[in-house]
């Protein structure tokens, strides 16, 4: 009974889930594809989703703690990856990554001092514009310091693809061990973040600030320090995202545009929810790969058009459709205002 009532209340989520599952199953049932190829697309989508989720996670952390919509998260990913890639030319990778982390912490401190503190109590739009400025500043600074070629980060991950499951599927599935390792790194990061937020008193203070600024201050939590910490954590997340992405596709300036992909992810997840960001990332990652591969094929077949390019807009349409029925996102806080 209670489950039924819950399902009824959560119908937009249920509807989205059903639709996605139907979308996933359609190519299989329609006999358009082999199960092996189907699984490959699914895994590719999950991998892209993990990376979107990482960037969205940075959004969510900062939005929760300071109510700031940090448009610069993508630029932070780029900056961290650039720093690591260029520094690694002169020193071991671990040292380069550590130095990049130090830079991200210094960046957090600087942003708090020069951007957040002077703009405290200003409207959300002013702060959004400020982070847009930070975003372009970071891109420019990155280019000035390290140039604008494509650089490699070599995490030393095994690159050779494996073929597994030949027993079950014709031709087996092409699997990249690099992706698997990257996914485990991300899982470990999420676990570490969870431990930090739930088990440490600093984490408790961060959650307190996220819930109520004034009350947090009144029990002696200094907002300024919390902001530095939370931007540093977001910087750390950006560094991990930059390393994983850079190792996969190389470090280049288009990396900053990933913010535009992570935006719908964060909104779909609910902006204030860490699990929401992760689930949203996976949904959008898988969704757009499927749309590109299978929907594109179907469109090309039935409408006699080229049918490509779906990947670029799919996330936005999905989020738009979802927001129509559930404006607070998957796990966001529902706001009920008294009139």
């Amino acid at each position: 009974m209670r489950i039924e009532a819950r399902l009824r209340r959560q119908w937009p989520v249920v509807a989205l889930g059903t639709l996605l599952l139907a979308g996933l199953a359609a190519p299989l049932l329609g006999g358009m594809t082999s199960p092996g190829f189907f699984l490959e697309v699914l895994l590719g989508g999950l991998m892209a989703g993990v990376l979107y989720a990482l960037v969205a996670l940075g959004f969510v952390l900062i939005y929760k703690a300071s109510g700031v919509f940090n448009f610069a998260q993508g630029a932070m990913v780029l900056f961290a990856a650039l720093a690591t890639a260029r520094l690694a030319e002169h020193m071991p990778l671990a040292l380069a990554a550590a130095l990049a982390l130090v830079m991200m912490v210094a960046l957090a401190w600087t942003i708090e001092r020069l951007v957040l503190r002077p703009l405290v109590n200003q409207s959300a739009v002013a702060l959004l514009m400020a982070t847009l400025g930070v975003s372009y500043f970071l891109e420019g600074l990155g280019q000035a310091m390290w140039g604008n070629d494509v650089y490699r980060i070599d995490l030393g991950l095994p690159k050779d693809p494996m073929i597994v499951g030949e027993k079950w599927f014709e031709g087996g599935i092409l699997l990249s061990p690099e992706d698997l390792v990257a996914a485990s790194i991300v899982a470990a990061l999420v676990l570490a973040l969870w431990l930090f937020f739930q088990r440490t008193s600093t984490g408790r203070a961060l959650r307190a600030v996220a819930d109520d600024h004034l009350a947090a201050q009144s029990i002696g939590i200094p907002l300024n320090r919390i902001w530095v910490i939370v931007w540093s954590v977001a910087g750390f997340v950006a560094l991990v995202a930059g390393l994983v992405w850079g190792s996969k596709l190389g470090v280049q300036f288009s990396l900053a545009q990933v913010a535009l992909k992570a935006l719908p992810v964060a909104i779909l997840g609910g902006l204030t929810s860490v699990p929401g960001a992760i689930l949203g990332g996976l949904i959008i990652g898988v969704g757009e790969k499927f749309a590109e591969v299978f929907l594109g094929q179907a469109m090309a077949h039935w409408l006699q058009i080229e049918g490509g390019g779906i990947e670029t807009w799919f996330a936005y349409v999905l989020v738009l459709a979802f927001l129509l029925v559930r404006p607070e996102g998957l796990f966001g806080e529902r706001h009920i205002d008294r009139v």
């Binding site: 431990l195 930090f196 088990r199 440490t200 008193s201 600093t202 408790r204 203070a205 959650r207 307190a208 996220a210 819930d211 109520d212 004034l214 009350a215 947090a216 201050q217 009144s218 029990i219 002696g220 939590i221 200094p222 907002l223």
Partner: protein, 272 residues
């Protein structure tokens, strides 16, 4: 009769030197004068009430003491230190804790976490040690947890300690708010309408908690109410505000007898 007299005498003997002195404080928002020329003091171990009709400036005065607002004129001295502006987290550091009129709890967190958050100022261990729960950090957490459990017992909210605060009944949330403030071990406790929106039974419970806090921990208390009834029974002295000005100051009996106070509450222009 005699017993009552000696109880009063005993209470009077406990009350010490002024802990908080507000001197000619004014507060203006743009053109609106929220507070004008307010002076009063709060003595150690005292329960001091600030009353007044809605919009009299009571909450503004509390926010002034707590550092949310900075006085446009005048000074506030806490424990002999005069200052003009101070931020809320610095006030907390000095030993000023507060509760909120419209609850400002950490709604997504458990009762336990809310009150533990009140211990933030007293935790000093490093991040890594905290995360791994090793050595001094583990001991620190245990010590604070023990203190917090005492507060939970004291406020009689043991059964709810693991629940999300947002899901609790209003009266219980008010207690958690008080508990979080108590976790700071404050010297001065500011209560913003602790009895607002409560039924009679809840009000009596809250009165008992306030008196016990004052008695057992010796905490000095400033509380705001717009309902005169309950407050008069538990406080030592009362400040009365109306339209941002002080119109009365004294013991409950003195204040009750004051013409200006009666007029403010009944809204009578006193024409002879």
């Amino acid at each position: 009769m005699n017993a009552a007299d000696s109880a009063v005498a005993q209470r009077a003997a406990r009350i010490g030197a002024p802990l908080l002195v507000v001197e000619r404080a004014s507060l203006a928002f743009g053109g609106v004068q929220a507070l004008k020329d307010i002076s009063f003091d709060v003595r150690e171990h005292e329960i001091r009430a600030i009353i007044g009709p809605n919009g009299a400036g009571k909450s503004s005065l509390l926010n002034l003491i707590n550092g949310v607002y900075t006085p446009s004129d005048g000074t506030i001295a806490f424990d002999g230190i005069v200052r003009r502006s101070m931020r809320p987290h610095e006030a907390a550091r000095l030993g000023i804790a507060r509760t909120f009129q419209s609850l400002a709890l950490f709604k997504g967190m458990s009762v336990l976490d809310n009150i533990m958050a009140g211990r933030a100022l007293r935790m000093h261990c490093g991040l890594l040690a905290q995360a791994l729960h090793v050595g001094p950090a583990a001991r620190e957490e245990v010590v604070h947890r023990r203190f917090v459990e005492r507060i939970i017992d004291f406020l009689e909210i043991q059964p709810y300690r693991r629940q999300r605060v947002g899901s609790l009944a209003y009266g219980l949330q008010k207690r958690v708010d008080l508990g979080r403030a108590l976790a700071l071990e404050p010297r001065l406790l500011l209560l913003d309408e602790p009895m607002a929106g409560m039924n009679l039974e809840e009000k009596q419970d809250m009165c008992r908690f306030i008196l016990d806090v004052n008695e057992e921990f010796g905490t000095t208390i400033v509380l705001i109410e717009h309902d005169m009834g309950v407050v008069m029974d538990i406080c030592d002295r009362v400040v009365v505000l109306d339209h941002g000005r002080k119109i009365g100051d004294g013991t409950p009996d003195e204040v009750r007898a004051s013409r200006a106070v009666i007029d403010a509450y009944l809204g009578i222009a006193h024409a002879h």
